[in-house]
């Protein structure tokens, strides 16, 4: 038996036009989150590198742009080879790498524990987060003059710029990761008899570790940016210094070569940290 309501509804609905149907477009290369074939992936990746490179070769060979502005790939290669042979490159690479290791290493040593505190204790969050949220918007490069006044022209001011440029971001990113530890995991640990320190050590830290490595990977890239900026001002060695020096003599081929070296080092660090992350975070895959 139909209810009065159902009957009325049927009358109303009879007057409606049919609901328009939408046709579904075919699957294409740009369907959201749809895997593409291995061949297409390879083609696209190779093209993404080959096209700009070809453009560079053609442009420099055509003579439209003077060689002083845009050196040919060959000139860049030989400039790089020359620097490598003279031993200059090794010194520069090591000097810059050491600065990154010291400055960014120090930033990691400070920011990871601090981030864990902020992400774990509301009191630590109340104390540190507003200050760090403000400080991180102050551009590290703007500190260069100040740091030179405070710390002089030597290594300390360069390390300090790296530190300032990365420590705040890495702290807040670590805190975010730590805040992502699921509440039930913490609760259940207490019911299994864990004390506060044990919950931190045996639950919060291991759960956060892959995310912390991700944060370090992102900020390692920033560290490489800052080290070059730091070296542009008053240094006697380093990849940034080499660029400034090359500029003085209009050696654009040398500048290009240094840029390529910086890129290669960056990719190497990124891949290495990705591998560590994949290993540490196997459980999360």
């Amino acid at each position: 038996m139909k209810t009065a309501l159902a009957e009325r509804a049927a009358d109303v609905r009879a007057a409606w036009p049919p609901l328009p149907r939408r046709t579904r477009p075919p699957r294409t290369l740009l369907t959201i989150r749809t895997p593409i074939s291995r061949r297409v992936t390879t083609t696209l990746t190779v093209a993404s590198l080959a096209v700009p490179f070809t453009f560079w070769v053609v442009l420099s060979a055509s003579g439209v742009v003077p060689a002083t502005f845009l050196p040919s790939p060959g000139a860049v290669l030989s400039a790089g080879w020359e620097m490598a042979r003279s031993g200059e490159l090794a010194v520069d690479v090591w000097t810059t790498t050491r600065r990154v290791l010291e400055g960014f290493g120090l930033a990691v040593l400070v920011s990871v524990p601090l981030g864990i505190l902020i992400g774990t204790f509301h009191a630590a969050q109340a104390v540190f987060e507003p200050v760090i949220g403000l400080l991180r918007y102050l551009p590290a490069s703007a500190f260069i003059p100040l740091l030179i006044i405070w710390l002089g022209l030597g290594e300390p001011s360069k390390i300090a710029i790296l530190f300032i440029g990365t420590v705040f971001f890495n702290t807040l990113m670590t805190a975010d990761v730590v805040r992502g530890v699921p509440r039930p995991l913490i609760d259940v640990s207490y019911t299994l008899g864990a004390r506060r320190g044990e919950v931190l050590r045996k639950v919060v830290v291991p759960h956060s570790l892959p995310g912390i490595i991700d944060a370090v990977r992102v900020n390692a890239a920033a560290a490489w940016n800052f080290v070059v900026v730091a070296e542009l001002v008053n240094s006697t060695a380093g990849l940034g210094y080499r660029i400034v020096r090359a500029q003085r003599f209009l050696q654009t081929d040398k500048i290009f070569a240094v840029l390529v070296v910086i890129g290669v080092i960056g990719v190497t660090i990124d891949v290495a940290l990705r591998l560590v992350r994949a290993r540490v975070g196997r459980w999360a895959a």
């Binding site: 309501l5 699921p182 995991l185 207490y190 019911t191 759960h207 459980w283 999360a284």
Partner: protein, 257 residues
Amino acid sequence: MTLELVDVSMSYPQRGGPKLALDGVNLTVSPREFLCVVGASGSGKSTLLSLVAGLTTPTSGEITIEGHPITGPGPDRGLVFQTGSLYPWRTVERNVAFGLELLALDAAERRRRVDWYLAETGLADVRRSLPRQLSGGQQQRVAIARALVCEPDVLLLDEPFGALDVQTKEDMQLLIRQIWRDTGTTVLMVTHDVEEAVFLGTRVVVLASDPGRVAAEARIPLAEDRDLATKRTPAFLGLRASIEDMVRAQHRCGVTR
């Protein structure tokens, strides 16, 4: 082990005044009992377990275990959540061993105990698997074994089978009955599934909603030996129907036209 709740009330701060989740709950859980608490959502079932676990403190009233007031969480009250409380980076055996790792036990003793509970819960074959490699039912077995290995006075189950498919759920019901009989532990379980409550419990308590309070209770005079066929006996069906009626009578937000 006797667990006692005397006049326990719990309210949460909320915009527009505190929200009363539990109102004057009195409840005694006797040693070796399997007590099931049923109620609709809003009846404060999970709040009740959280209070007994010591994860939250009641606004008023007292909760005691063997006469000692509960001041915080501890391994004497093992807790199993519905989902997602396993340590994802630890293998099955290391999840189960967590509570024992905190105690001064040598490795051999720890292993002996972990092995026993892995066997009891049917997890021996997957002991080196990670949680993500397990089915939902297996994950809950790990959670149960991990709580039991600490030999709690009472095992607290918060809708432990709520996220499982019906077949797996029945397997788990038989398993928890078997564990309860093998270990002689006391169980306090909350669920919204009346059939489950009647099948598992020696006693069922019905909570009313908004605010949560004890509305009714019933002994379950079924035999100790229960299997899935028990669920089709007239005695079981009668009990189930009468408790369903109690739950419906307390459930105010029905669909009306």
